[in-house]
Symmetry: C2
Subunit: 499 residues, 2 copies
């Protein structure tokens, strides 16, 4: 009966694939199939393990790690170029540290089991631990990055790069400074990283919590509804205005007039010209918060002009962002759909970076409520990673997963000792070297290993070479072979594998 | 009343310090004091947070990160020199994946709360996830490293580098190979890393589970007591033989004769000579397991002789190692006490790396029980890190926490725009550059910032320089100043900061 169920499930998967169904759907059914197969187990009465990683997580094999390290390296270079220090915090925090920081999203926090002692939760982002770190160490001034995994019990959509365990790459500037200078640098960082990674065209949407709040006020939204109306606005990148409007009026009880006034604003986006226009707007210009926000937005655009990146920036009144802790500028980078690049359609376009100013968060942790103004950006690696992974697969580019410079090989039998002696010399000289773990490997197998793994050189020891005090160095790509005096071998390998 | 308790605790801490009590003890009482103070809270009615990281964990600030990255970089270089690929796995596994792998230590596993869905646990080491990864992906042949945090609900002793969240740096070779070649490479790796990190003298103890089991058999230990007697032997690096013997006889019910026979063996350590002697031992040589183990140990020493590292290796019959999954060679590297280096006394000497062969673990995950022989080594970073951190503190060496090459500064007011323009050019050219986030910073403050953070160069823009198309470059160390044509600035900075 169980086997019949497995067969039925396999058939279901086959059909979904044939119908080119939603990839998430297929993935889900494949996972179910694998689980059923695993539970069915082997035929030797071995324990029936479910052999899988937890829902919403995955392993990174060597190829994926090679891509991941490329992405990290681009991001870290940029953070260091901007003079950031680096910190790390534990993967879990006291539960109360996270309480009251994420609004509705708090339900997605992973708690640890109470095994006696403190109540703990896995970190949900890197921003709250950062604020806790600043308050705990009384740091009022730092520019730091932090790259680490965070955890959300969200609905995973893995083919689109949405996981329950995922990396965040955060850069933040904390301290009391003149307005918009650190904020502008955060946007410059996003522009540098996305350009460097060559992900195609992108736009960075910018707005300000004060402009949003001022706008809600002049549109006649009651104070008590700011938050919930804000979260409706936040949906505008996914659903059309009409739907958002009916949510505001229907579910959230906003007056139709207020909703229509909001509707006029949130469809606006542009640059300095729009900011100037809104500064003249008879209603908005009367609101203190909005005026402050617009004034700072103007300053921000002046700085971004000096950085030469306004072409990538869009002041967008529909940008709201969910997290509770933002107090000023907010921003989000979105990849634009590529034409004729069907590879990326699978992944879908979407936000790959976001951030903003949060001037009140550190104060929530300080016993005396002392504030440390902060602004920061978080790069979402998984989505970027999904795109690069699929692009690489499509390109059939061969990616090396090791850096080995030379394979130490032998052409005849009984030379294991000589191989061990030579490879040890090479390791001690800092050469990246491998050998096959066989007493008498065939030369053909040794050469094949180089082909498979991309090792460029083979150092071959043989009876004659040992007598002559040389090693035969073979260049895998050209099949050329040269005898090198043993004492020059290290230098020769270095020269041939440099660059 | 609460305040009086805090004062009493503060007094207790003062006394402990005065008495130069055990540092762990002091740390514990200080932590208690801080917690009491935190609970007492501020005087403005703010929420009374306990501002701390969870028990047994800590933050890494920029200075600690700088040391940590040095250590990682040495370890990763070595792993790459030996041709390893890299993988990563999730921080948690299905609970059942970890079940039955760690013997008594299983009680130290962190479980996640059941929030609906799968039952999860934080990983306890990187070996079991590796075995799960191999079985799940049907990989029979890989050489990989994995550097990540693992979690144990152990009694922390943080001044000695024992934490509940800590890094492991693992290198493993999986596959069916000729005997002892991969095993020898693992020992070579330990020797390379410990030498490279300059931690002082060390010894790598080596033994084999088969020799231990054979020894127990010929000493007359009943099969059912192998495990528990093995864990008594494991204590010999901390307590004297007499204590271990009385545990064996008293608590574990071993006959005094058997215990004495074990006592003779476990006090032996040496090299090839000892192996030869034991191969002639009338009792051991009759035991199949012991003979196999000793034969392989001899082969291992031959290979280690070719690697030139037998001076660092001690075949030690008292080495047992706790984990259940080892099946062959086991080893452990121990730092030796330095004379006249009182700094390190605080940290204490102890094991900094360990590993061994586990040929059965992957098979536990395979539905058909197919085995993949493995051998690997795990470097314990926290202890090494504690030593280096204390050494650095004692040396008063100044450690840079950023790589910034140049500070973009101005000597006069109203030059913010010019600074922004110049720094943007530098960033785009790949130069690591910072500026102060002030509209009109004082030159003195800008120079002071360079002194504090170790930035070697200052690029100063001023009215006259702008007119002349130059930038004044100041070398912080010598206070020398030179005018550089703007178009040559990038090249000049690169030259002056290369190497």
């Amino acid at each position: 009966a169980q086997e019949a169920a497995v067969r039925a499930q396999a058939e279901a998967v086959r059909r979904l694939k044939q119908d080119k169904a939603d990839p998430d759907e297929i993935a889900k059914e494949v996972a179910k199939l694998l689980e059923m197969k695993a539970q069915l187990g082997g035929d030797e009465g071995k324990p029936k393990f479910v052999l899988k990683t937890p829902k919403g997580t995955r392993d990174y094999g060597p190829k994926q790690m090679a891509i991941r390290e490329r992405v990290f390296s681009a991001i870290i270079s940029c953070f260091k170029r901007h003079g950031a220090e680096v910190i790390d915090t534990p993967v879990f925090e006291l539960k109360e540290t996270l309480t009251g920081k994420y609004g509705e999203d708090s339900k997605l926090i992973y708690d640890l089991k109470d095994q006696g002692g403190e109540l703990l939760s896995l970190r949900y982002d890197l921003t709250v631990p950062f604020a806790r770190y600043l308050a705990m160490n009384k740091i009022t001034n730092i520019k730091r990055y932090h790259i680490a995994k965070v955890y959300r019990r969200d609905n995973p959509a893995m083919t689109r790069g949405r996981y329950r365990e995922f990396y965040q790459c955060d850069f933040d500037i904390a301290g009391q400074f003149d307005p918009m200078i650190p904020d502008a640098e955060c946007l410059k960082i996003v522009q540098e990283i996305l350009s460097d990674l060559q992900l195609g065209d992108f736009v960075i949407k910018v707005n300000d919590r004060r402009i949003l709040d001022g706008m809600f006020a002049v549109c006649g939204v009651p104070d008590s509804k700011f938050r919930t109306i804000c979260s409706s606005v936040d949906k505008l990148d996914k659903v059309p205005w009409e739907e958002v409007r009916s949510e505001m009026v229907g579910e959230k009880g906003l007056s139709p007039e207020a909703a229509d006034r909001i509707g006029e604003y949130v469809q606006l986006h542009g640059g300095l010209d729009l900011i100037e226009r809104l500064l003249q707007d008879p209603k908005l210009s009367q609101n203190k918060l909005a005026k402050e926000g617009l004034g700072d937005m103007k300053l921000l655009f002046e700085y971004l002009t000096l950085f030469g990146i306004t072409g990538k920036i869009s002041f967008d009144l529909s940008l709201a962002r969910g997290l509770d802790y933002y107090t000023g500028v907010i921003f989000e980078a979105v990849l634009l759909q590529q034409e004729n690049e069907h590879v990326e359609e699978l992944v879908g376009v979407g936000s790959v970076a976001g951030g903003g100013r949060y001037d009140g968060l550190v104060g929530m942790f300080d016993p005396k409520g002392r504030k440390v103004p902060c602004v920061g950006v978080s790069i979402g690696i998984e989505r970027i990673f999904s795109i690069l992974e699929q692009r690489l697969e499509a390109s059939e580019e061969k990616i090396r997963t090791t850096e080995t410079q030379v394979l130490v090989a032998s052409a005849q039998k009984k030379l294991l000792e000589e191989r061990l002696k030579l490879i040890s010399e090479l390791w001690d000289a800092g050469i990246k070297a491998e050998m096959l773990y066989k007493k008498n490997p065939k030369l053909l197998n040794q050469l094949q290993y180089c082909e498979d793994t991309g090792i460029p050189l083979v150092a071959i020891v043989g009876e004659q070479e040992l007598k002559d005090g040389v090693v035969k160095l073979r260049i895998v790509a050209t099949r050329e072979e040269v005898n090198i005096r043993r004492e020059s071998l290290v230098e020769e390998i270095r020269t041939r594998t440099s660059q």
